[in-house]
């Protein structure tokens, strides 16, 4: 099955959405709103094994494969982080494994959030992206979950 939109299109939509807001307050309020609107994650996935390591707050991500596409769900106990989770899900969920793994996510640096939060070298976000790419790769059969 083909994705409805490609990653670049979704990234551009997010960039356009954030560009509507001028002040940092509005941008963060929008991000917090994205977090609040994120579809709830079933409690069975809010466990240690679904937790992303390296985040100050708790972040859980669950993934599954359907018709050759990878889908993600997630949650966090911190609202701003939940907004970031929400954006990552918008970008990655419903994509093909190889495009997820090969993506470089430029939008994070251009939507106007403070640099330490949004840069991919920020610890938590980097862990989140790395984990999602790893899961896409494993579910898509691109690599085994336990490389020996």
């Amino acid at each position: 099955m083909e994705p409805i939109k490609n990653i670049k299109e979704i990234e551009q939509e997010l960039v356009d959405d954030f560009a509507m807001f001028e002040t940092w307050e509005e941008k963060y309020e929008y991000l917090i709103d994205l977090g609040k609107k994120l579809a709830p994650l079933n409690d069975e996935f809010k466990k240690e094994e679904y937790k992303i390591k390296g985040c100050q707050s708790s972040v859980w991500v669950h993934s599954f494969e359907k018709d050759g596409l990878i889908f993600f769900e997630g949650d966090s106990d911190a609202l701003i982080v939940k907004g970031l989770v929400s954006m990552m899900i918008m970008v990655f969920s419903g994509q093909k494994p190889d495009t997820i793994v090969g993506s470089d996510l430029e939008f994070l640096n251009t939507i106007g959030l403070s640099s330490h939060l949004a840069q991919t070298r920020s610890n938590g976000l980097r862990s989140m992206i790395k984990q999602m790419k790893l899961e896409a790769s494993v579910l898509g059969g691109l690599q085994s979950s336990n490389p020996q």
């Binding site: 940092w24 917090i32 100050q56 707050s57 106990d77 911190a78 609202l79 701003i80 982080v81 403070s114």
Partner: protein
């Protein structure tokens, strides 16, 4: 005695056959020394002597009690650690608000606080909390700055709630 740390200046000669170390004290002082701190130690001592330890303590106590009173007025805020004689730091939690969210929004307003478990995870577990937000006040802070922090905090809460 063999050196425990390698680095610049501690070595005299390195060949494939053997390594010889520099003479003392250099052998045990690998790498760049803490130059910045050496330079500022004099003005730091002069600063403390100029104001006097008692005055500094009094000023910090004043900031602490003012900030405590201001923070207590915020809906849902609970101060963690309220012994009578403590240094001028305030750790707190707020109902339904994650410390990390608060820190990000305060940071955007130029307010520097520490958040998280403060390297005291067993204590956080014992208290049943994920972490706290901690504001620290020093001799060079002012009452006005406490007000700015409280305003920034109220603004952050409005954004999160």
């Amino acid at each position: 005695m063999p050196p425990f740390l390698g680095g610049g200046e501690m070595i005299k000669e390195v060949t494939f056959e053997k390594t010889t170390y520099n003479e003392l004290p250099f052998k045990f002082e690998a790498g760049t020394p803490n130059i910045a701190d050496v330079i500022v130690i004099k003005p730091a001592i002069e600063f403390i002597n100029h104001f006097g330890k008692a005055n500094i303590r009094e000023h910090e106590d004043k900031l602490l009690s003012y900030a405590t009173q201001k923070l207590k007025a915020i809906d849902g805020l609970k101060i963690i650690g309220d012994v009578e004689k403590k240094v001028s730091v305030i750790s707190f939690i707020i109902d339904g608000v994650h410390p990390q969210d608060l820190a990000i929004l305060l940071d955007n307003q130029g307010i520097a606080v520490r958040t998280g478990h403060h390297c005291a995870q067993p204590l956080m577990q014992c208290l049943g909390i994920v972490g706290t937000t901690r504001a620290s006040f020093a001799a060079y802070n002012t009452i006005e700055e406490v007000d700015v922090m409280v305003q920034a905090l109220e603004k952050s809460l409005k954004m999160l709630r």
